[in-house]
Amino acid sequence: MKAAGFGVLLLALVTLPPLAEPYMLHVAIVVLMNVVYAEALYVIMRMGYLSFGHAGYIAVGAYTSALLATKLDVSVWLGFLAGGAVAALLAWLLGAITLKLRGIYFSLSVFAFAEVVNAVFRAFDFFGGPAGIAGVPRPMFFGTRLNTHLGFYYVVLAAAVFSLVFLYRLAATRFGFTLLALRTRDTEGLAESVGIDAARYKTLAFVASCFFCGLMGAIHGHYLRFVSPFVFTFFFSTDLVIFNMVGGLGSFWGPLAGSVLLTTLGEQLFAAGYYKSLVYAVVLLVVILALPGGLIQVPRLREVWAARRLRWARQPVATTER
């Protein structure tokens, strides 16, 4: 039944777009990109790591590919992979240092890294400075440049399906199961004692997370045909966290639901100004308070509420996770 559902969905995603308005395609592209970002972030969130700096890796991917295409005339397709690879490499280097840290220490060090990345892109003319890089080309496909929404939609779809299948398998298989053992400092010690190389697993997970952010970031840059330090900001990182929390961290489908819902909701609030951020924030708070496991728990509402009742009373005042 699951497989059939997937088949129908995929078929719809492949066959319907030629009938869709360009605007719907734009929304679809943005939704697909956000879904991949959110799922990539989910890889580390399910091992208890919160990042307020994933936009930094998305930016690295976008800049890598944009620079390769505009300065060296490298094929855009290769640029996509290079974007992911460079982001992954940086994640590996930074991960070696910061993954030892847990909790808010990690969150804020990744945030600081993203700020440094942003400052570097702004400071050097080589990276286009604060003006960013305009004229980032779309890829060529059998002699045509994919300047239409439709053409580029299929690029994004292909990349998203590839990324999501990979990320899904990552979460669903032994590897993802092992990551669950690393959720807190205590369980990490236990995991080590049964032979799990925690540092290696955490690094791999972080690298994978950032690879897909970089890959999609590269595609993002070519979609906008522009990269700038002002696109991938702290708020971008925060949005990805919100997608995850609203959807729920309990399963792979949580971040997916969260990003689809909030992205399309955001599109509806295009003229709402500050009411838009208010709606986002209220949705976030209501979900966290009423459904700590996210929207994904809606089908199990009654159970969740029953379990939730006296939850805090048993907890110590200090919420330690370091």
Binding site: R169, F175, T178, A181, T187, G189, L190, S193, V194, G195
Partner: protein
């Protein structure tokens, strides 16, 4: 009897404080050794050093004659050392079966890519691991809890589960840190009976315990630590007759 675990001159200093001062002993294959001592004697520190949680200031740990002092704790687990923690530590958000499955980590042969693709070999191995995890639970008589979240279990079951997770690694040497602590008399007895029967048939055991009665009843040999030094190594029966041991424990209720 071949020595399986050798502790050679282990010294550990925290800042200026000396927690262990040149402790030596060996554990033979199949032995059940009790490590005894009053609070702060250095039992847990020694345990942590053997398991690789932190390095000693000086000295060496040998497993089957191989120096493992410099190995990280996950590497030691792969070489056959498993442990439980004094504070109950489990993967709280997972079921009992999944906890034991994590313990089976070192027996996973499939490569990352095989898992990603989901090859038949990988699936078969997963099924086999699940069955194996359930066998470990059954062995300790807690099979009926396999689908329940461990964080929701009573302490007695949780304690047994910590042993199950460690046992799942199929260790050569199992380090048990006060398995009976905090349990009722019946629970504690059930635990120790299991340790002395089904568990010790599978591995060599070092047991930290400060209840001497338990040590006398179940262990082959007792080692007593006092202020970081070994003051006794021999038959449990000789414990109460040893002057130094009695002095160390003087006034401590457990001896009674």
């Amino acid at each position: 009897m071949t020595a399986i675990l050798e502790i050679r001159g282990i010294t550990k200093q925290f800042g200026g404080l000396s927690a262990l001062a040149g402790v030596d002993f060996t554990v033979g294959e199949g032995e059940l050794v009790g490590l005894v001592g009053p609070n702060g004697a250095g039992k847990s520190t020694l345990f942590n050093i053997i398991a690789g949680a932190f390095p000693p200031t000086a000295g060496a740990v040998l497993l089957k004659g191989r120096d493992i002092t410099r190995l990280a704790s996950h590497d030691r687990a792969r070489h056959g050392i498993a442990r439980t923690f004094q504070q109950v530590t489990l993967f709280g958000e997972l079921t009992a079966r999944d906890n034991v499955l994590q313990g089976l980590h070192r027996h996973v042969a499939s490569r990352f890519l095989a898992g990603l693709v989901g090859t038949p070999g990988y699936r078969g191995e997963q099924r086999e691991l699940v069955a194996r995890a359930e066998r470990v639970l059954d062995l300790l008589g807690i099979g009926e809890h396999r689908d329940e979240l461990v964080s929701e279990q009573p302490l007695g079951i949780q304690k047994l589960l910590t042993v199950a997770v460690a046992l799942a690694t199929e260790p050569t040497v199992l380090l048990l840190d006060e398995p009976g602590a905090g349990l009722s008399h019946e629970e504690s007895t059930r635990m120790m009976d299991l340790v002395a029967t089904v568990i010790r048939r599978r591995c060599t055991i070092v047991l930290v315990e400060h209840n001497m009665r338990i040590v006398s009843r179940y262990c082959d040999r007792a080692i007593v630590l006092h202020f970081g030094q070994k003051i006794y190594d021999g038959e449990p029966a000789g414990l109460t007759a040893d002057r130094r041991v009695v002095d160390a424990y003087l006034g401590v209720a457990e001896l009674a």
